[in-house]
């Protein structure tokens, strides 16, 4: 007996091969998305954790002006300090004669006879420093690769106004600089910023700091409070120009990578989950309809003597095979995506190695979800069929009753032709089926939009950041505060059309018990090159001593215009100010504070600027670049084109790779939903449609009937889909909001149109197939079934 069921199984699978394939693909897409993104996430997290653990990433860090080693002993003696590592750290301008840009190197001292006890260095190539020689250095891999340095090369830094040559003996990585950025600029530029590890002796003599240190890191003993220790350290270092100790969460590299991991978590979990849910939902709907359509077959089987159990088992096998096929394909696809994505991360984050790991639990989880969705559908449908008397079940189901309400009769059906009445009746009597079908298509549209809207958002972000607010062609940073006349000097250079001077200071802002270290940027009152906008996209002008905060900062400190805050300058005279908040600005990244330049200069009692923004004459750009490189007091030259390119190649590439894979999955699911919806309808209504044929309708007319029904479903599904798209996109963007990023929701109407087009094209393609099948159906055999 069972063997015959087995044959039915195989025969059914073959007969419905198109449906089997499309459903399996839909499952594969859902599973693939979940497996791919989640496994990438895991790989990244593991790489980070392992790097931190093996290379003893410290817990607390701090910088100060300088202190003798005896103070180090005092810090070590504080309760909670497990290991303390002191060092000298300073940024120097690098001399890169072959390059058109300037670069800055952070020089950090390390022991020559062993690894430092904390923040150990991973040597990628080359050798460790020689204790007997000075002026050797290990260079960060990012910088070395970007500039083509290898062990054996020399590089010069400008120390105390003189060129000092260093021998590069090794290429290295450190857990402190997995993400190497300088200051507040979130876009890494490996070409212009590198880390150099050199011997203590070298830095001591270069900076006259024998027996002192200006930077430290420590690891926390088990069970100790980080904040309490930080407070004690700050108190200790008050007299030594301590800038404030901070934990990992404020360490630049860690903060960015953690933010990114958290953001990715959302992308890796929420979105694939949505996809998988849609896939499971579709699975559920289609399976129940397929089984429902085999009602008479099941009843016949029962009548012949098969038990409920064997029949159920048959359908379970049927569904499991499909789900299995889908899950295998999906896992394979997901693993492939995961490997590619992990590789991408490897190029971007400087880990010693980042291995792809696939936790089998993920595969199992997605497999089980799909399976349960399918089983649930089957059991429900089967239960309904089993409840019927076999004889009744063997008969085709009664046509659904078409009872019209009086208003329906008066306003709608009386106005319709016979054909339209048929369509109307089909759509309304099986309300559930129609609604589910519509919902399915709307969901398909929704996930397509979720994959595609990223391009719009990135477009907006780039436009806002590079062309609406910061409109300069180049940014020139000075080595220290410069007088305003430095700006006039700069203006004389051929190739500079417009120049504007700005100031920038590191400050700490206090609000209640919260404090944030950030930059206070001085903007000229009627700035021509840089604009500031609030969240209504109105221009904001600096006013008096009022500070303007980016909305992320305002949120973090819970401030609004009219509040007053304490600021502490973290350099120079360490002034303390009490200033009002005058406006909140909209910024998608970073949290700086802004103030009127003149007022800042008054507060500082100096007529100084820190950087200049320029509009450059494209014809003379190359000459200008060369000239700017050789100005001693200029420490950074950034051309917008390069920054934009770097931005597009790093952060943007990620999002677009992610969005592209989502979009492809969405296309597959969308087509699967539409195709199956049509295909199942065709099977279910075979008898009806063939009756129409017998009555005299030709194939084309029957086809049109079906098509109009589908058209109506689409007409309702589209606006529903648009609404869902907006809602879910908003949800996604909100979940991805971190302390440092607030990506806005921007969906161009074009995207809605394209997503709708995907559904419409899927429908058109599916209807071609439906027409083809309609033609093929043997009228006689189709009508025979109803005996």
């Amino acid at each position: 007996m069972v063997k015959k069921l087995q044959r039915k199984l195989i025969r059914d699978l073959w007969r419905m091969k198109m449906q089997v394939i499309t459903i399996a693909l839909v499952i594969a897409s859902g599973v693939g998305a979940l497996v791919g993104f989640l496994s990438t996430q895991d790989s990244l997290k593991i790489a980070q954790t392992q790097f931190y653990q093996r290379f003893r990433f410290a817990n607390i860090f701090g910088e100060l002006s300088r202190a003798p080693q005896s103070i180090a002993q005092q810090i070590q003696n504080l309760p909670g300090v497990a290991t303390l590592e002191t060092r000298i750290s300073k940024d120097f301008l690098l001399h890169l004669p072959q390059k058109s840009y300037t670069a800055v190197g952070r020089f950090i001292s390390i022991p020559t006879d062993s690894q430092p006890r904390l923040n150990k260095i991973y040597l990628r190539s080359g050798r460790w420093l020689d204790p007997e020689t000075t002026h050797e250095a290990l260079v960060s891999e990012g910088f070395a690769e970007a500039n083509g340095f290898k062990p054996g090369d020399k590089i010069a830094a400008i120390i105390n106004g003189k060129y000092q040559s260093f021998d590069i003996v090794g290429i290295a990585l450190s857990p402190e600089y997995i993400y190497a950025i300088r200051g507040d600029n979130p876009i890494p530029d490996d070409r212009q910023y590198g880390i150099f590890w050199t011997s203590q002796k070298t830095l001591e003599s270069a900076l006259n700091m024998e027996g002192s240190f200006n930077s430290f890191s420590l690891s926390l003993g088990y069970g100790n409070s980080e904040q309490a220790l930080i407070d004690k350290i700050d108190h200790l270092l008050l007299d030594y120009g301590g800038l404030g100790a901070y934990g990992r969460s404020d360490q630049v590299s860690h903060r960015f990578i953690s933010d990114e991991i958290n953001q990715n978590r959302v992308m890796a979990v929420v979105i694939p989950f949505i996809f998988l849910s849609v896939a499971a939902f579709l699975l559920n709907v289609v399976m129940s309809r397929i089984v429902g359509q085999q009602r008479s077959q099941i009843a016949s089987l029962k009548a012949v003597g098969y038990h409920n159990k064997s029949i159920s088992l048959h359908y379970i096998k049927f569904v499991t095979i499909i789900v299995f096929l889908g899950a295998i394909t999906g896992s394979g696809l997901g693993a492939w995506i995961g490997i590619k994505f992990t590789q991408l991360y490897g190029d971007y984050y400087r880990f010693p190695n980042i291995n792809y790991t696939l936790d089998p639990k993920i595969v199992l989880f997605s497999f089980l979800i799909s399976l349960f969705a399918a089983w649930f559908a089957i059991f429900r449908t089967l239960k309904n069929i089993y409840q019927l008397q076999p004889a009744e079940a063997m008969r085709p189901p009664n046509p659904p009753s078409f009872r019209q309400k009086s208003w329906e009769k008066k306003y709608i059906t009386s106005k319709l032709s016979n054909k339209s009445k048929m369509i109307y009746r089909n759509l309304t009597t099986q309300g559930w089926k129609t609604s589910l079908s519509i919902l399915g298509m709307a969901s398909a549209l929704m996930i397509t939009t979720l994959g595609m809207f990223w391009w719009d958002t990135i477009d907006f972000v780039i436009d806002y950041e590079f062309f609406q607010t910061n409109r300069e062609d180049a940014l020139v940073t000075f080595i220290d505060r410069q007088e305003t006349k430095a700006l006039w000097e700069l203006e004389q250079y051929p190739g500079i059309l417009v120049s504007e001077g700005y100031h920038s200071l590191p400050v700490r802002i206090y609000s209640g018990h919260k404090k944030v270290e950030t930059a206070l940027v001085g903007y000229p009152k009627n700035s021509k090159i840089r604009f500031m906008f609030n969240d209504k996209h109105q221009r904001v002008y600096p006013s008096g001593e009022g500070i303007m905060l980016s909305h992320l900062l305002a949120q973090r400190l819970k401030l609004k215009p009219g509040d007053w805050v304490h600021l502490e300058v973290l350099e120079g005279k360490r002034q303390k100010w009490f200033l009002p908040v005058s406006a909140i600005l909209y910024q998608w990244v970073g949290y700086s504070a802004y103030i009127d330049l003149k007022s800042l200069q008054n507060l500082l009692d100096e007529n100084s600027i820190r950087f200049a923004v320029l509009k450059v004459d494209a014809l003379h750009k190359a000459t200008l670049q060369e000239k700017l490189k050789f100005i001693p007091k200029v420490v950074g030259i950034h051309f917008k084109r390069e920054t934009l390119r770097s931005f597009k190649e790093t952060m943007v590439k990620f999002i677009l790779v992610f969005a592209s894979s989502l979009t492809i999955f969405a296309f597959i699911i969308a087509f699967g939903v539409v195709y199956n919806s049509i295909r199942v309808t065709l099977s279910e209504r075979e008898w009806e449609l063939m009756s129409l044929r017998v009555m005299g309708f030709n194939v084309k007319q029957v086809f049109l009937l079906l098509t109009y029904e589908m058209l109506w479903q689409i007409v309702i599904a589209l606006p529903l889909g648009w609404g869902l798209s907006y809602l879910f996109a908003k949800l996604m963007v909100t979940l991805m909001h971190t302390e440092a990023f607030d990506i806005p929701l921007v969906i161009h109407p074009k995207t809605f149109a394209y997503a709708s087009l995907v559904i419409i094209i899927s429908a058109i393609l599916s209807s071609y197939y439906a027409y083809y099948r309609l033609k093929k159906i043997n009228i006689v055999s189709a009508l025979k079934i109803r005996e």
């Binding site: 062309f467 410069q482 430095a486 004389q492 417009v498 021509k528 809605f752 149109a753």
Partner: protein, 299 residues
């Protein structure tokens, strides 16, 4: 025509209308979705206004004629009772040196004591400066100007003197560009050749009564001036191959227009040809703006 036919016709008409409206709204929706959205840009008009090409330099005030009073002999100087700021008349006795007997030194001019170099009693050498006398209100301004810029300064160029601490902007006139330059390290650390440019203060003395010797001022030397020049903000310019161009706004669209500029400074550029008064141009056009793009003012 009987009822049935009439009804049929009505139904047909209704249906046709319905589908027509449906297609129309669909087409409209598609058109709206795909129609280009205007790019937000900053737009200003070509204006006719005063254009000035200026040179901004830091300067120091200097009293025109300084009289250094030196010791005539090697002897013993008596304590100087005068202080900077004291008024003296020509002929007043201002210092006494012993050798062999007390010699009284008289002031050569009327004016104020500018600086006291030797206050205390003690031995003094012949030629050593004791004090300086000058008329502090006879001030001039000295600005150190790059030689490349100095050659562009027209004779008797007007100068605006500002940021000296007082409320008013003072006026001046370039009296002389010294014939010899010297080497200096600039603010940004570059070695340069600079030459002193002497500026007479032409504002009435009441306005600058608080200014004294060696005070810092900021000079803006006017190299060129045109009263009714056709100007646009320099931020609107960009290069089109080797030529200058701007994006004009015509009927809500950007139009790339080549222009010729006769002069430009950090703020404005003087148009020689290519634009007329009242034309609208885009300032700091983004990468998205191309010839023909739909644009809209962001304000």
């Amino acid at each position: 025509m009987d009822n049935l036919e009439k009804r049929k016709k009505k139904k047909l008409g209704f249906k046709a209308l319905f589908w027509f409206l449906f297609i129309l709204s669909l087409a409209g929706l598609i058109y709206w979705a795909f129609s280009p959205r205007p790019i937000l840009v900053e737009i200003t008009k070509v204006t006719q206004e005063k254009y000035q090409q200026t040179l901004k330099e830091e300067g120091k005030t200097r009293v025109r004629e300084v009289y250094q009073v030196t010791s005539p002999v090697n002897g013993n100087l008596h304590r100087i009772e005068l202080h900077p700021g004291d008024t003296v008349q020509a002929g007043d006795f201002i210092a006494t040196v012993d050798w062999p007997s007390p010699r009284k030194i008289q002031s050569p001019v009327s004016g104020k004591i500018l600086r006291i170099h030797r206050e205390s009693e003690g031995p003094i050498q012949r030629g050593e400066t004791i004090l300086e006398i000058a008329n502090p209100s006879a001030l001039e301004v000295v600005a150190e100007v790059l030689t490349e810029n100095a050659v562009q300064i027209p004779a008797e160029a007007s100068v605006k003197i500002e940021d000296w601490g007082g409320c008013d902007v003072l006026t001046g006139r370039v009296r002389l560009v010294e014939p010899a330059a010297f080497t200096k390290i600039s603010a940004l650390g570059i070695e340069e050749q600079r030459v002193n440019v002497i500026v007479d203060i032409t504002s009435p003395p009441e306005k600058c009564v608080r200014l004294a010797d060696a005070y810092r001022v900021y000079c803006e030397i006017i190299l060129f001036e045109s009263e009714q020049a056709l100007t646009i903000p320099t931020g609107a310019l960009f290069r089109d191959a080797k030529q200058w161009a701007v994006f004009q706004v015509v009927d809500g669209h950007a139009k790339k227009t080549n222009v010729e500029i006769s002069r430009r400074n950090s703020e404005k550029a003087m148009i020689e040809s290519g634009l007329t008064l009242g034309d609208q141009v885009i300032v700091y056009p983004s990468d998205k703006v191309k010839d023909g793009s739909l644009v809209k003012s962001m304000f």
